[in-house]
């Protein structure tokens, strides 16, 4: 065979390969996250909270090829780098189910305000990921607080604010390099005061909570119609409607591909939202800022809907007036999925402390929450709400090696994160600043991101 022919054949083969993969053409904005290089690492002799509800004392974790390879006592090190973790506690990577890092980046200047497309009350067509600034120094300080995965949400100014995105907390050049592979999208919805205050103030709908509910239902009716027409067209019945970004996202919820994250403070409104979800056949993955979740904990359990809560934020508006510190404890006690979230670049650095506050308050009324149970509120439960529990959120063999090593119990105010591993790679080491990321914005300062270097 002549050389030129050979080349042609190769070219044809390549072309053919491309054609064969036509269905696999990378979707726009698909994840291009690549884990950092990792060594096989054995963390030895630690107190381990697995995130499944178990506590293992004096035990080891083996991280290999980015996964949890083994868990238990006396694991053979092999060629692993061995780290003495005998005074340490180990937990799954902390997951913040409610973050605005990147879309409301620090410094908090108007130019960084990218979370609320308040041009109309339903903006399901916008995607938080299109506004995420990976140079937000908050990603780095969050890592120093143990955050390995986080959901970035649009704000709550709209009834339906747009798509959220779930990220690995590994700063990249763009959001695609941070996107959690395989994580479903979320849809941000908002109850209550925010939408009606903003639009009502302009003399538009929604002006009341009645208007809020009418707005959601109208949107779902349109979405169901769009979904039905699309489905019919696929079966050759009728013409497909023009692609509509807004309805496409909403139809994704009705098809169960996009998870609903619903900002909702009051018990009565959460109850109404659960009825709307039933009316249109979708599930609410989690209520967020669920100040009054404790009043309807049984309903949450029955509907398999999580409640994402703060420990003690209160009083900043009417719908936040009935806070109790024991909220998460009562939700947990009712058998519902309790989550502690941040909504804040500072609180996200110490979700463990917020959990501890709830534990302390609950103990006062004889609800004792063991550390191995409490840790679920910031690991496996948020993983469940985000639809990524099969990949992360617990320390189980085969899962992503997203791991936090603490220098004591994570529920002591004095405890700090010692090391963070994401997909088995060491991404933060309190005692070795050379390991730690520094965002572009922090370059040239006397301290970068809180002295976390």
């Amino acid at each position: 065979m002549k050389r030129s022919t050979a080349l042609s054949v190769v070219a044809l083969l390549v072309l053919a390969a491309c054609e064969n993969n036509a269905d696999d053409v990378e979707k726009p904005f698909a994840s291009r996250y690549e884990p950092l290089a990792s060594n096989t690492t054995l963390l030895k002799g630690a107190t381990i909270l697995t995130g499944t509800g178990e506590r293992l004392d004096n035990s080891d974790v083996l991280l290999r090829d980015g996964k949890i390879a083994a868990l238990g006592g006396d694991i053979d090190a092999g060629d692993a780098t061995v780290i003495d973790a005998s005074a340490m506690w180990i937990t799954p990577g902390v997951i913040d189910v409610h973050s605005h890092l990147g879309v409301y980046a620090t410094p908090h200047v108007p130019a960084h305000s990218d979370g609320n497309e308040m041009s109309m009350p339903v903006t399901a067509e916008v995607w938080a990921e299109h506004a995420v600034w990976p140079q937000d120094p908050g990603f780095v300080t969050a890592m120093a607080g143990g955050i390995t995965t986080l959901q970035i949400l649009p704000g709550s100014g709209n009834l339906i604010g747009g798509r959220s995105v779930t990220l690995k907390n590994v700063p990249g050049r763009n959001v695609m390099e941070m996107k959690f592979p395989g994580a479903p999208y979320g849809l941000k919805m908002a109850c209550g005061e925010n939408p009606k205050r903003f639009y009502g103030g302009k003399g538009q709908s929604p002006m009341t909570r009645m208007g809020n509910v009418a707005g959601y239902r109208t949107a779902w009716i349109e979405a169901a119609d769009y979904r039905d027409k699309m489905a019919a067209a696929e079966k050759g019945k009728g013409e497909a409607p023009m692609r509509d970004l807004r309805l496409e996202t909403l139809a994704g919820v009705l098809d169960g591909e996009i998870l609903v994250h619903n900002h909702c403070y009051r018990a009565d409104e959460m109850s109404i939202m659960l009825d709307i979800a039933k009316e249109f056949g979708y599930r609410i993955s989690s209520f967020h800022h669920a100040i009054e979740a404790y009043k309807v904990a049984d309903l949450l359990a029955a509907n398999d809907t999580c409640a994402s809560m703060w420990a003690d934020w209160w009083g900043f508006k009417m719908e936040a007036f009935d806070t109790i510190r024991e909220n998460a404890a009562l939700v947990d006690r009712a058998g519902a999925c309790a989550i502690i979230h941040s909504d804040d670049a500072y609180e996200t650095q110490r979700l463990n402390q917020e959990v501890a506050k709830v534990m302390g308050a609950a103990a006062r009324v004889d609800i004792d929450i063991a550390p191995e149970r409490a840790i679920r509120w910031i690991t496996s439960n948020p993983a469940k709400a985000l639809g990524i529990l099969e990949h992360t959120g617990t320390l189980e063999v085969g899962k992503m090696a997203d791991v936090v090593v603490w220098n004591g119990s994570p529920f002591s105010v004095y405890t700090k994160v010692d090391r963070v591993f994401i997909d088995g790679a060491l991404t933060y080491d309190r005692n070795d600043p050379s390991v730690n990321p520094v965002t572009d914005f922090s370059l040239g300062m006397k301290v970068s991101a809180g002295g976390a270097e």
Binding site: M318, R350, S412, V413
Partner: protein, 435 residues
């Protein structure tokens, strides 16, 4: 060991007027952090009479007329002192009718005295008392940046309140003059921080001129002033070096500038915010300038705070700067009790434990010059104390007993009542019928 002679105790009884509470109480078996010269005392007895500490010492026999409370080795500290906030000046932040910490007019600035708006029945008071806060500075805020209001450099006069259940609720009126400078402060003035500083200097100069020429002013024979007569009156104790200026500022260069101005005018100065104060710690120590900061501040939240860091409290204290803690806008008001968490975080980042406890008890009392009245467990002082279920700075600890001015206060509040109601999950009645 007995730390105080009966003679001294008797003298102190004469020297101080009794407060409202009549009951004599003795706590025994306590681990006391007095935050006074006696430091930590094991197996301590604390005697409270007429609302004040009468005696504190190891193994003291309680007086015969005292109700004795044995605390079984638990830790007792002075009540917590929130050094900056707006307690009692708001109920729900987003409900303007409940918000009294700023005003929209131009008629008053320095003379805007927040004490008259204080509401001791605010739900915030009871919640924070339950968390161990017994004293709080409650301060006017800069005018609401969201509203289109005239902007002023002097925000007005702060007061210290006591969170007990009996009057007088205002412990110390007009205890500090609040000033807003830096990036936000300059926005309050004319857009440049230089203009804000000019406005401040003009106010101070006018105050001095007014003091020297009151008669001429009354006769209308003096130039126009930049502030009203009420404001100039309010600034008199400030220019006399008695009432401290409480200046909200973050940036290193702004702190240096305000320290220089305070020096020029002979003013007492407290920095509030102070994200970059650690960079001028030696200067602040030399000039005796105190700093109220948030130990959790570690992000470049604004261009004024680019070098915020978690080690700030430790660095400042090491240099000899008097420090205290306040949280962000949320913590200042509704969650003032989280100053204990702030103190714990400062410890996690290098501040010695006892200095963190100081920062939320006696230090703010010293900053505001009221440490002769309260802030530590010493004979003669007003009896504010907390019996803790554990380490006071730990998140899982709770106050078991809160005493304010000699009186054990109720630990019931809206939040505990809500909890009680909704814990009754086996009730067949709707919540409104559960009592």
């Amino acid at each position: 060991m007995i730390r105080l002679s009966n003679i001294t105790a008797a003298f102190l009884l004469v020297a101080f007027a009794p407060l409202a509470s009549a009951e004599t109480i003795a706590y025994t078996g306590a681990t006391v952090h007095t935050m006074g010269p006696d430091g930590k005392i094991e197996n301590a007895t604390i005697v409270i009479r007429d609302g004040r500490f009468e005696a504190v010492g190891s193994g003291l026999t309680p007086p015969a007329d005292a109700r004795v409370i044995d605390v079984d080795g638990r830790i007792i500290t002075p009540g917590l002192f929130s050094a900056m906030g707006r307690l009692g000046l708001t109920e729900v932040s987003a409900v303007p009718a409940t918000v009294d910490y700023y005003q929209s007019g131009t008629r008053f600035s320095a003379s805007f005295d927040i004490a008259d708006a204080y509401n001791h029945r605010s739900s915030l008071v009871a919640v924070n008392r339950t968390g161990g806060v017994t004293r709080a500075l409650t301060a006017p805020a800069p005018s609401d940046s969201a509203a289109h209001m005239p902007k002023q450099v002097f925000s007005g006069l702060a007061a210290i309140v006591q969170l007990g259940e009996r009057p007088e609720f205002i412990a110390n009126r007009a205890i500090a003059m609040v000033v807003n400078l830096g990036g936000t402060g300059s926005a309050e003035a004319s857009g440049s921080r230089a203009a804000a500083l000019l406005a401040m200097r003009a106010g101070l100069d006018d105050s001095i001129d007014y003091r020297r020429n009151k008669d001429a002013v009354e006769r209308g024979q003096r130039r126009e002033y930049s502030l009203s007569i009420e404001d100039l009156e309010a600034l008199q104790p400030v220019i006399a070096g008695q009432t401290p200026l409480l200046v909200a500022v973050h940036r290193e260069s702004d702190i240096e500038t305000i320290v220089r101005i305070a020096d020029d005018y002979g003013l007492r100065l407290i920095i509030y915010g102070g994200a970059e104060a650690w960079m001028v710690a030696e200067l602040l120590a030399t000039k005796n300038v105190a700093v109220i900061l948030d130990p959790k501040l570690n992000l470049p939240t604004s261009f004024d705070a680019l070098n915020a860091r978690l080690e700030s409290p430790a660095i400042l204290a090491e240099a000899g700067v008097e420090i205290s803690f306040a949280g962000d806008r949320r913590s200042e008001t509704h969650a003032a009790r989280n100053i204990a968490q702030s103190a714990g975080n400062a410890v996690a980042n290098g501040l010695p434990w006892i200095e963190a406890l100081e920062a939320i008890t006696i230090s703010p009392a010293r900053m505001y010059g009221v440490d002769d009245q309260y802030g530590s467990i010493e004979p003669g002082k007003e009896a504010d104390l907390i019996v803790w279920s554990g380490d006071p700075l730990e998140l899982t600890s709770n106050p078991d007993d809160v005493m304010i001015r000699g009186e054990q206060v109720s630990l019931v509040n809206r939040q505990t009542l809500l909890l009680e109601r909704y814990m009754q999950t086996d009730s067949d009645k709707p919540p409104a019928f559960r009592k």
